[in-house]
Symmetry: C2
Subunit: 581 residues, 2 copies
Amino acid sequence: MYIEKINSPADVKKLDINELEVLASEVRSGLMNRLSKKGGHFGPNFGFVEATIALHYVFDSPKDKFVFDVSHQSYTHKMLTGRKDAYLYDEHFGDISGYTNPEESEHDFFNVGHTSTSVSLACGLAKGRDLKGEKGNVIAVIGDGSLSGGEALEGIDFASELESNFIILVNDNDMSIAENHGGLYKNLKALRDSDGKCECNLFKAMGLDYLYVGEGNDIAKLIEAFKKVKDIDHPIAVHVNTVKGKGYKPAETNKEDWHWCMPFDIETGKSRFSFDGEDYSSLTCDFLMKKMKADKRVTTIVAAVPTNIGFTADKRKEAGKQFIDVGIAEEHAVAMASGIAKNGGKPVFATHSSFFQRTYDQISQDLCVNGNPATLLVNTASVYGMNDVTHLGLYDIPMMSNIPGLVYLAPVNCEEYFAMLDWSIEQDKYPVAIRIPCNGVIHTDKPVDTDYSCINKYKITQQGEDIAIIALGDFYQIGEELAKLIAEKTGKAPTLINPRYITGVDEEMLEQLKKNHSKVVTLEDGILCGGFGEKIARFYGADDMKVYNYGLKKEFLDRYSVEEVLKDNHLTPEQIFSDIA
Amino acid sequence: MYIEKINSPADVKKLDINELEVLASEVRSGLMNRLSKKGGHFGPNFGFVEATIALHYVFDSPKDKFVFDVSHQSYTHKMLTGRKDAYLYDEHFGDISGYTNPEESEHDFFNVGHTSTSVSLACGLAKGRDLKGEKGNVIAVIGDGSLSGGEALEGIDFASELESNFIILVNDNDMSIAENHGGLYKNLKALRDSDGKCECNLFKAMGLDYLYVGEGNDIAKLIEAFKKVKDIDHPIAVHVNTVKGKGYKPAETNKEDWHWCMPFDIETGKSRFSFDGEDYSSLTCDFLMKKMKADKRVTTIVAAVPTNIGFTADKRKEAGKQFIDVGIAEEHAVAMASGIAKNGGKPVFATHSSFFQRTYDQISQDLCVNGNPATLLVNTASVYGMNDVTHLGLYDIPMMSNIPGLVYLAPVNCEEYFAMLDWSIEQDKYPVAIRIPCNGVIHTDKPVDTDYSCINKYKITQQGEDIAIIALGDFYQIGEELAKLIAEKTGKAPTLINPRYITGVDEEMLEQLKKNHSKVVTLEDGILCGGFGEKIARFYGADDMKVYNYGLKKEFLDRYSVEEVLKDNHLTPEQIFSDIA
């Protein structure tokens, strides 16, 4: 096996073309070993094996610097830069993250997990090189799916101003996570169809030089192309046509399902996990589908992650023109939602908490300054959500809840979630965001309110005394447990409150609590800094009420255990009780 | 005068071509009257008079809907839609805002002040129309300077998916506020030079149909072109070449200075205001110039507003390659700054607080997750800053200070500001943001610290008792006044603290304060929700310390009086004293 001897890119350079071809198949075996047992990004990596080998064959990393967009296609790069064991041997699976990571290797320059950032980051490396008067190649690797993101387009537009070595490698596999969206993909197709010769050329229109490589899974052809552009003295886009999922039939056939995989059986391609419980993705899809059928003004918007709310290909087809996938273009999605609402539509835009971070200005300026009644569904906004440092859903409360004009709601169970969503779609007064619950589908048999137009009105779910627990969203259940524990330990039942509204304080209720309560405990599923509990602390700042805020410390976590994080932040009922007793 | 009889677009349609030409010159007189006395956006409006007249002549607003990008070129639109008096008669100047405003007119659909939003907002109007099965044209008007912004590029890329009527009117005057930057402007030039016939075409590459109008200040030609695209059944870009500042020699000659003007003498073009005091723009420019000359790794980055930190054309030239104007591309600017810092450069990116809103995700993911030592200068972040609803600098503390890993500093005088900036440029550990003071250039003769690496260490500037005032940044001077007032009224001097660090709490000092203080007052120049003071309130939540947080209410203000806002928020020393006494 050649792969066994690859400890750095220098070892790749020792092989001849035939050996490199064998290496490619060994790399795929390594990828298959890890991915079939542990899951991860399948399609992007299987399609980019040859290109990565050719890159390391031609260029000299880390003097030459690669920046991978999203970096979910960097697995082969990791295997060739001293981290092969994490693919070949099960006991080393835990050695690495799923993204580039400077702590792992000098060949990685950034922690990257969001799309569309590589060109700008790499522009910075190139500019830093130029300021210091140094040499070397800087190569941004970006997939076609990421091209539609505003940051990528800003970066590509700026790149031509560098006037020095800069290579943008466009890995075009004609797919985003789902199918691509947007006009520029028509141009990529025209370029592919004309072997790169089509006069109308997005990259040239953005001021770049251009080279096309039609056979992006042919190592010899790739090496030839990369040699042409190595040490080039100006910015160039190298457009490489690859096959997503290349080398594994099920992944080549069903590209969307194989973008990312759970552990699976290699022979059949079937997932080793079957989940037949309820989940909010399909429940949300069903709910929105029903709303769309009942009212043609209702429209569902996603940004390249349609299945985050259950819109698989068949559901998208069923929804027709009332379903919009804007591709990677979250800024556009929020602004367009504002426009749709302004003109009488009822838009619902859903994406992950971490990706809403791209839309702060659009939520503020395009949506809230204008007060248009669009609905934003914030997914995986929770300690129970995604746990890579680049995908954390712990910051949306400080980010979004302090924007004037937004009504941000935190339901505590399934029935309340859909009641809030229904209210939001039907009302015409407020921009509304809703945190989709993330702690499992919890049902209630108690009736839930259907009207949320009395803004910032909290709900007392258990009237008690002395201690009041204000338990927001996903942490409401911790609040319930805490309430029980307090009653058991003290013999006095505390008051339990479901605040529902993240964006404001129920001053009247908080005032009332002063009568027969001496302590208020707040709980929120996110960081404390800038969050919900601090607003309660401010309200009682000059009063005798003792306020205890519980939530997470402001920090970046990475691949954490939920249980440990909760414990570290004193978030178990027992810990809280011992703090406040 | 025709203008006297224009009360709605219907009145424009009654005129013939010759009369429309006269109307154009009357509109310019109206613009001149208001702008020479009150100031405002000069160049964008003078260049777009004919196009606006032609738009209202051909289309039927408000059934046909115009969305103006930035909307600083909408003055003629306002004059033709019932708001002419605000230009013709001094006593009506106050009737209108400087931007489109739905509260003023049914012909305005959005409050817009940030760049690059029009296409996405207009896409929304078009989609809303289609969902309801209605007819009518939707026209996004976007200047070439705004095209480089990520949101605009996302919108243009998406537009082709509409498959129904949609017109993007590109007002190309070959200028941003300063000169244009980025590769796409080379393509606009190629299109202008070829009378729109150049095969390589950015708009076509983004999937759009295309029409070129070379003479964008010729009403007849514009009417002809607009008639061609009226009721078109698919998306099209209409590329119109106009002259910025058209009709006023000084503005045609010096386009950058005349983008926006203070009141001026019409004959000479000279500003009626002369300011010969110190200002932070030129002081910052001088400081950075010196740093850049001493160290070639230092680089200054702006995003289309170079003079916000004093970089006039001559200074930009002097700085050479160490100065980068990325154009409207704030996301790119922050990500690139992270890359530059990663590769050993010392980047400083400056823009307005309101425009940093576009960069939340880049600050979080590209910069802070990676911990690269770039410096961000946050300008006009203050109640004393810009006061249009779309340009407020009141939200950056909740937005930025809760991002993990960022060190956000608030200097209280000129010397501290430059000491912090110097430290930030020279250190290599933290991403640092600094709020440029905005309450006048205040000097101190006391020595200021030069080392800020002991993160979150507050500074006691006056040791006292009972009451501690923690006065952040621009509100430090209010803190000083309050301290004096308390000493006078009570005979006991309070403690005064300059916290310096917005992003953290000096737990040791706050703990110490408990010994001989019973009250803590916090002051911050921004909204309270999610801000600095709430962190102090949380710290003391379960203690006996009384905490009083002062700052602004979470709301959108518009064209406010600072004095009134301060009073409404109980921010005068007298009001605070009466609250806490």
